[in-house]
Amino acid sequence: MNLHKATRFALYAILDLAEAPDRQVSGAEIAKRYDISTNHLAKVLRTLGRAGLVEAVRGAGGGYRFVGNARRTTLLDVIELFEDIRPISSGQRQPGDSTPAGQTLVKVLDEIEEIAHATFASITLETMLRLIEDTRRHQAAESAGSMSVPAGSGAV
């Protein structure tokens, strides 16, 4: 399972902004944090703005801020602004789809797509922010642990 570049950029941007909704963050700041193209991100932010999820703040200290509802907005809501992840069976027909092998393959691929759809539809931005915080804590604990390895305990 992979997401388009624009979708990933949108998720990074919206999670970054939703983490501190009172804060205004420039596109350049977000682009730098995730090592992504500023131009591409600007297009993505415009789409998020049209969807009513972020708002551009003009003037000195301007930037973007999150104006959606993090408890109600799911990953699927954001993803669907940029790409279609409907089950394959409801999409464009492909050569061989009507054969028994094609129909069976579509059934298997649909199963995968349905699970992906349910996963994205059930994870809100608020839940993602909690998971990100957990990841930060684990990373901090791991790096604290690796720093406390006694001298001389390395590989010989």
Binding site: I115, A121, S122, I123
Partner: protein, 157 residues
């Protein structure tokens, strides 16, 4: 419903969480009936009155002014499908007028603490794939997909 754990009532701002007992079954059946659209008193009687030592069941209720706001039921199962003992949440429900007030989150935390008291360190549940609301609730509590996948087949094929 013989208690298998010792849970002192936990007071929260707007409600109290305590162990459920036989007198709660009619209200549990009501709350479930309201949420599911199917009133099944007999099922709840069977489920909650017949707990066994091999499969300890825990029912917790959230109460305000002698009225149940919600309930949660869990069971500890060991070595099912090769899994080490773990706690299963198989029912959680909150009255519609008490939702969005943290009742289910508090019940799940209390049930998880009870599971720990029984010596298990993992909690699982099963959710209909299309029920995004209930799945979102469990995910908001930190639950992720586990190592098992449910498979099924129509037997009349």
């Amino acid at each position: 419903m013989a208690p298998i754990i010792s849970l002192q009532p936990i007071a929260h701002e707007n409600f109290t969480v305590r162990l459920g007992d036989d007198r709660d079954i009619p209200e549990i059946a009501d709350i479930d009936g309201e949420a599911s659209g199917v009133y099944k008193r007999h099922y709840w009687d069977e489920l909650l009155l017949n707990t066994t030592v091999d499969e300890p069941r825990i029912a917790l209720v959230a109460e305000r002014d002698s009225r149940l706001l919600g309930f949660i039921v869990g069971v500890v199962r060991a070595w099912e499908f090769g899994s080490e003992p773990c706690g299963w949440v198989f029912a959680v429900s909150v009255r519609s007028d008490a939702r969005e007030t943290g009742v289910a989150s508090v019940l799940l935390r209390a049930l998880s603490a009870s599971f720990r008291e029984l010596g298990v360190h993992k909690v699982r549940t099963m959710v209909r794939r299309t029920d995004h609301l209930i799945m979102a609730f469990f995910r908001s509590q930190g639950m992720m997909a586990g190592p098992f996948l449910e498979l099924e087949k129509d037997l009349d094929e």
